[in-house]
């Protein structure tokens, strides 16, 4: 009912931000088109592209299915049963998020000889990605109104019928969102599939570019991968519209009654411990074993410090640029929702879903041909981070802006304060903590980014992620270990925030 005044300045700044984020995509299209249709067709209709497509889609499908089964099952066990040590298992199940896939892959290849190919990649990616399903589903299960299940039982449905007819539908939007995230993640994953030598699009793009400087081949492969990504995103939009959001219809939060597991709890515990052992134990043991040797190598400490310094610098630059672009868009999303705003939001999300390899490749050509002063500088890399992580930051800004409702600003104005004073004394003090958290998230995510960093870093500059990559590629597992350990430590912080926010750690209310 209440219309918000149009905000032309905010809208213009947001449009500019989205335009910047879309540079890689636009430039990819322009460069590919320049090659001409005949060359594109020649590159496209080959047996190899068909095989790559089959393998990429197959990998995404198998990993997503496995993640949904593992994620929903674990979420149900830790939120709705009387499993002993539920909170410990919940945290153990969420922790694999702290292990970047390329580090998990490194841990496995350095532990198990000849651990290569499609199925090893499925295992590693599933173990790393199933928390993307677990976290939203566990939050949905905890938030779902138990009264609906009770009504279903009171209308004569059995426990199992109620589970399929009510519970599974309550968590469907959360499951779909998690599954989409996993599928996008697998399609864009570069580090793990490369280390495990599973030939997918991302690896083929990198190899085509790295080995032969085969521009057209790399560009065409990138376009196919982008098309797959867009297809997935479209599917997600469709399910989102259909699934709507199942909200709770008022009423206080009340925990659901728990399903007693009885003697089944021992095999259940064995499975959960087994999964945790594979997902966390293998990387931990592997890293621990190699770490001592890696650190004691002569000159290791200086190298690690130099790489950490570089990581810090580029990630800071990336976080600063990302927040600059995210501020107007986040405020617009929170304050002036509408069709135009959601279009801008979707476009920013599109860039986020693009694989880092594609972004990196496109920005290299952009740097060489359009913005040569930026080529071989941090700024091109910062731009890649901004493109990749813009939605993370927009979400943080929009969430923070919700901490300062319009009503507060209206009260402040009615008390005789002008717009700038209101911004300074009310809006900013309320939203700065949230914006800071968003910047920290972007910063930490940038620290562990691999493919775009690998392609765009200025020659001779190594970061933690690229040092790990280089050492692993030549089989120097001990040298790689310190970087891997540092990266896991860096990833642990955002993971912890995510787990804390999901409500998995909350003390349970007594029923």
């Amino acid at each position: 009912m209440r219309r918000l005044a149009p905000r032309p300045a905010l809208l213009a700044a947001s449009t500019a931000a989205v335009a910047v984020a879309l540079i890689p995509l636009a430039y990819l299209a322009v460069r590919t088109a320049e090659a001409g249709w005949d060359r594109i067709a020649a590159e496209l209709w080959t047996e190899r592209v068909g095989l790559l497509a089959l393998r990429s889609i197959g990998l995404a499908a198998v990993v997503t299915t496995a993640c949904v089964l593992l994620g929903v099952g674990t979420a149900f066990l830790v939120t709705r049963t009387d499993l002993p040590g539920r909170r410990v298992f919940a945290v153990l199940a969420a922790l694999p998020l702290a292990v970047p896939t390329y580090i998990a892959a490194f841990a496995w290849v350095s532990t198990v000889p000849r651990w290569e190919g499609f199925w090893p990649a499925v295992l590693v990616l599933t173990l790393c990605s199933y928390p993307y399903v677990l976290l939203p589903v566990a939050a949905a299960l905890r938030g779902a109104d138990p009264a609906q299940e009770e009504v279903s039982r009171s209308l004569g449905r059995s426990g199992w019928q109620t589970f399929t007819a009510v519970t599974l539908r309550q968590i469907r939007p959360a499951t779909a969102a998690g599954a989409l995230l996993v599928a996008l993640y697998v399609l864009s994953d570069f580090g793990a599939v490369s280390i495990l030598r599973a030939d997918t699009f991302t690896r083929a793009i990198f190899v085509a570019f790295d080995m032969g400087f085969d521009r057209t081949g790399a560009l065409v492969l990138s376009c196919v991968l982008v098309a797959l990504t867009v297809l997935l995103l479209t599917g997600e939009t469709a399910t989102r519209r259909r699934g709507a959001r199942y909200s709770r219809l008022g009423g206080a939060r009340r925990p659901a009654s728990r399903l007693p597991l009885g003697p089944a709890r021992w095999p259940v515990i064995a499975v959960l411990v087994g999964v945790a052992g594979l997902a966390l134990g293998v990387p931990a043991v592997s890293l621990g074993r190699r770490l001592a040797a890696g650190v004691s190598r002569p000159g290791a400490l200086a190298e690690v410090l130099a790489a950490a310094g570089n990581s810090l610098t580029v990630s800071l630059a990336g976080a600063a640029l990302t927040m600059l672009l995210a501020l107007p868009l986040g405020l617009l999303t929170a304050r002036a929702p509408g069709p135009l705003t959601s279009l801008l939001d979707r476009l920013a999300y599109l860039a986020h879903a693009l694989p880092g390899v594609v972004i990196g490749l496109s920005l290299i050509f952009f740097g060489i041909n359009v913005a040569y002063p930026l080529y071989q500088t941090w700024w091109l890399l910062a731009l890649a981070y901004a493109t990749l992580f813009l939605p993370l930051a927009v979400g943080a800004v929009a969430g923070a802006a919700a901490q300062s409702p319009v009503g507060l600003e209206e009260v402040a104005r009615s008390l005789g304060r002008g717009p700038w004073t209101v911004l300074r004394t009310v809006t900013l003090p309320l939203i700065l903590p949230g914006i800071g958290a968003g910047a920290a998230l972007v910063f930490l995510t940038g620290m562990k980014e691999l493919p775009a960093t690998l392609l765009l870093r200025p020659t001779g500059m190594d970061t933690l992620a690229t040092e790990l990559w280089t050492s692993t590629a030549v089989g120097a597992y001990a040298a790689a270990a310190p970087y891997a350990a540092l990266l896991v430590a860096i990833s642990a912080l955002p993971t912890w925030l995510l787990v804390a926010r999901s409500g998995l750690l909350d003390k349970e209310e007594r029923a």
Binding site: M1, V411, S414, G416, R417, G418
Partner: protein, 355 residues
């Protein structure tokens, strides 16, 4: 202390007309209640007054100077009109004293004005607390103190008591009215609660579908409503078909003196339930008792007259004399208010009111 005049104010949201030409005068130093059902435009009216919305036609004058209309739109922060929103909306990052001092300039902030208004709302000594340490009622009191502190021309209260429970509400609205009065403030209270409007306001403006239906003192609006809808909206009403002859109305309850601008002929008359007396003896109309709603301080008795007409009586004693199913005798005290005859049946109006 300022007089506010709205004339012909129109506000549209796309196809929806929220205010369709509103004329209201808010007398200086008094509390005026804008009363109406939800969706009548009362919150829009308040937002236009505060300057949060631009009006599409008409004008708003404060002490004779135009703040809106005729191409002019004085922004909210220059209007000197303070609002108290529904949920208080205290600044969560500021202490109570800083909240109250927010609208004051630096010098006044250091004076004892902050403590003075906190005392007015009964929260002396709470200045150092943070908003989350206060109860809902205390937060509303701080919001009122914050609005009063800069001595604004007008204080706008947007259903400020609706989120509180009933017991707290009565005490708080009394205190708030006293605080406004003690500070000499001009107030506008938006509410859908007729009891609240009648009990605290000096003047009541009844709004429906974006138009002012009636404006006047609470007693006038209650006793002399302009139509049957207002009669039913501001209180329990018994509406009866009647025929007027020479200043008296023939009704199912007997012949009653009438007020209101009516000529002889068929009319609808309003009798308030408290005018209906249940008496012993046979001097009056007999009725059978249908139901008995006990409210503690009084009771509402549902009655059916011999001709089938249903009416309601409000009685003060416990009602032991009126067992359900029993026969009683009723008569009406005072005059009935007459309106031009309406077509809706009396029972349906009563059912609406009961709901």
């Amino acid at each position: 202390m300022s007089e506010v005049v709205l004339s012909g104010v129109v506000k549209r949201y796309g196809q929806v007309t929220a205010l369709a030409g509103v004329d209201v005068t808010v007398p200086s130093g008094q509390l005026t209640a804008v009363l109406g059902p939800s969706g009548c435009g009362k919150t829009t009216l308040l937002r236009c007054l505060a300057g949060f919305e631009r009006i599409d036609a008409g004008e708003i004058l404060i002490d004779g100077s135009r703040v809106a209309g005729g191409g002019r739109h004085l922004p909210a922060h220059r209007r000197n009109i303070a609002v108290v929103p529904q949920e208080g909306a205290l600044f969560p990052h500021l202490s109570v004293a800083d909240n109250v001092g927010y609208g004051l300039d630096r010098a006044t902030r250091r004076s004892d004005r902050v403590e003075e208004v906190l005392t007015l709302v009964g929260l002396a000594g709470y200045g150092a607390r943070m908003p989350h340490q206060l109860s809902g009622g205390q937060q509303q009191r701080v919001a009122v103190a914050r609005a009063l502190a800069p001595r604004p021309s007008v204080v706008l209260l947007d259903e400020p008591f609706s989120a509180l429970d009933a017991g707290l509400r009565a005490g708080l609205r009394h205190d708030v009215r006293e605080a406004l009065r003690a500070d000499g403030a001009t107030g506008v209270l938006v509410t859908h609660d007729q009891g609240e409007a009648l009990s605290v306001a000096d003047k009541v403006v009844v709004l429906r579908d974006g138009r002012v239906i009636q404006a006047g003192a609470p007693t006038a609006v209650y006793r002399e409503p302009v139509d049957a809808w207002v009669a039913g909206f501001v209180g329990d009403a018994v509406l009866l078909p009647a025929v007027v002859e020479q200043g008296s109305a023939r009704t199912a309850l007997g012949v009653l003196p009438v007020t209101g601008p009516v000529t002889d002929g068929p009319v609808t008359v309003l009798v308030r339930p408290e005018q209906v007396r249940v008496v012993a003896g046979s001097a009056g109309v007999t009725a059978s008792v249908l139901r008995h709603d006990f409210h503690g301080h009084d009771a509402l008795i549902g009655l059916r007259l011999a001709d089938g007409t249903r009416i309601t009586a409000r009685i003060l004693d416990g009602g032991a004399a009126c067992p359900v199913g029993g026969q009683v005798t009723v008569h009406v005290d005072g005059p009935a208010r007459a309106f031009p005859a309406q077509t809706t049946s009396t029972t349906s109006v009563l059912v609406d009111l009961a709901a």
